[in-house]
C-alpha cells in the first residue's frame, strides 16, 4: 500500500476524531484541554517527519532540496511551538489566553520566515522553467481577492489592535504580526495554487497543490483566531483548531507525494538500465 494512502487514512481518522471530540466534548473540559493541545502536537509532528522524508528523498543539494529543507524547518518550529504550548497549558496549568504572548508565540513567529522563503523559492524556480504562467485575467482576479482580504484584515483586525488603549506594546506587536505574516504567506500560496491548476492535476502538481491548500487552511484559521482572540471569544476546543490540524496534515501529504514523485522517476530509471 502506498504511503500516501496510509497517510490519507490516518489524516481522515485524526480529523474525524477531532470533529467528534469538539462536537460532543466527551469527558468534559479537562479532557477537551488535552485533546485540543495534543492533537496539534501530533499533527505538526507528522508534518515535520514527512517533510524530513521528502527532503532526504532529493539526491543532490540544489535550491529545490533547500526549499524543502526550509519548509521542514518552518514546520519543525511550529511543532516545537505546539509542544511548548501544550506543556505550558497541561503541565504548568497556565492560562495562555490571558498570559499572551508566550514562549510558543516566539517559535510560531520564527516558523513563518523559512516557510515564506520556501514558497518564494518554489515560485522563483517555476519562473525559470519556461512553463506557462497563465493568463493576466486570472492574476487580476487573484490580486482583487488579495486586496479585498488585505482591506478586511486592516479594517477589522489591524486598526482595532493599533488603537486599543488597554493592550501593551508586546501584545500589540504579536497581535499584528500574525495577520500580517499570514498575508505574506497566503499570497505565494495562492500563486502556487494557480500554477498547479495550469500544470494540471497530475502527479507533478500534487505536492505543490497540497502545500498551497495547507497554507490556505493555516491562514484561514489564523485570521479567525486573531479576530476571535481579540474579541475574547476564543477558548480550548474551538472548531477553528481543526483548520490548523488539517493544514499540518495536508502539508504532510504534500511531502509524501513529493517523495513518491521522486521515487517514480528513480524506479523508472532503474527499470530502464536493468
Amino acid at each position: 500500500m502506498k504511503k500516501s494512502k496510509i497517510l490519507w487514512a490516518i489524516s481522515v481518522l485524526i480529523i474525524f476524531f477531532n470533529v467528534l471530540f469538539y462536537a460532543f466534548r466527551f469527558g468534559g473540559d479537562s479532557v477537551l484541554l488535552y485533546v485540543s493541545d495534543l492533537l496539534p502536537v501530533a499533527c505538526s509532528f507528522i508534518s515535520a517527519v514527512c517533510l524530513l522524508i521528502a527532503f532526504r528523498a532529493f539526491a543532490s543539494m540544489d535550491y529545490i532540496k533547500f526549499s524543502w529543507l526550509l519548509l521542514f524547518f518552518g514546520l519543525l518550529l511550529f511543532f516545537l511551538a505546539e509542544s511548548v504550548y501544550a506543556v505550558l497549558e497541561i503541565v504548568f496549568e497556565q492560562n495562555l489566553d490571558e498570559n499572551w504572548p508566550s514562549v510558543a508565540d516566539y517559535l510560531w513567529c520564527a516558523g513563518y520566515v523559512p516557510q515564506f522563503a520556501c514558497l518564494v523559492m518554489l515560485l522563483r524556480g517555476y519562473l525559470k522553467t519556461g512553463l506557462p504562467l497563465g493568463n493576466i485575467k486570472t492574476y487580476m482576479a487573484l490580486s482583487a481577492v488579495f486586496i479585498v482580504l488585505c482591506g478586511s484584515i486592516i479594517y477589522y483586525l489591524l486598526i482595532p489592535i493599533v488603537v486599543d488603549p488597554e493592550s501593551d506594546l508586546l501584545t500589540k506587536i504579536f497581535s499584528l504580526f500574525y495577520p500580517i505574516a499570514d498575508l505574506f504567506v497566503v499570497a505565494p500560496a495562492l500563486l502556487l495554487m494557480y500554477i498547479t491548476n495550469i500544470i494540471g492535476r497530475g502527479r507533478l502538481a500534487r505536492p505543490w497543490m497540497f502545500i498551497a491548500i495547507g497554507f490556505i487552511f493555516f491562514t484561514a484559521s489564523d485570521l479567525l483566531y486573531s479576530y476571535l482572540s481579540w474579541q475574547g471569544l476564543y477558548g480550548s476546543g474551538n472548531f477553528i483548531d481543526i483548520g490548523w490540524n488539517a493544514g499540518y496534515l495536508l502539508i504532510a501529504l504534500s511531502a509524501i507525494y513529493q517523495k513518491e514523485l521522486l521515487e517514480s522517476v528513480s524506479e523508472g530509471w532503474k527499470d530502464e538500465i536493468q
Binding site: 532529493f58 529545490i64 522553467t129 505543490w208 530509471w269
Partner: protein, 79 residues
C-alpha cells in the same frame, strides 16, 4: 499510440508518468515548436535539445538529479 512518430511516442512514454497526459503532450508540442518542427517530425538529432529543455522545466519539481535522470532517458532512447 499517441503519435505516429516512434521517437515522439517514446518521449511521451517517458514523461507521461511524471507530467500526466495533458502536460506531456503540451511539453512535446512546445519543445518541437521551439525547434521549428512538428512533434511528428522529431528525429534522433532533436533528442538532445528536447531532453535539455525538459530537464530545465522539471528541475523545480524533481530537483537537479531527478530532472537529469529523465533527460538522460530521453537522450538514450532506443527505437
Amino acid at each position: 499510440m499517441k503519435f505516429n512518430n516512434a521517437l515522439t511516442n517514446r518521449i511521451y512514454e517517458i514523461i507521461v508518468p511524471v507530467l500526466g497526459d495533458t502536460m506531456a503532450v503540451a511539453s512535446i508540442q512546445i519543445q518541437a515548436h521551439k525547434l521549428n518542427i512538428s512533434p511528428e517530425s522529431i528525429t534522433r538529432n532533436d533528442l538532445q535539445p528536447i531532453a535539455d529543455a525538459i530537464k530545465k522545466s522539471l528541475v523545480v519539481f524533481l530537483g537537479t538529479d531527478g530532472a537529469a535522470k529523465l533527460a538522460e532517458k530521453i537522450k538514450t532512447i532506443k527505437v
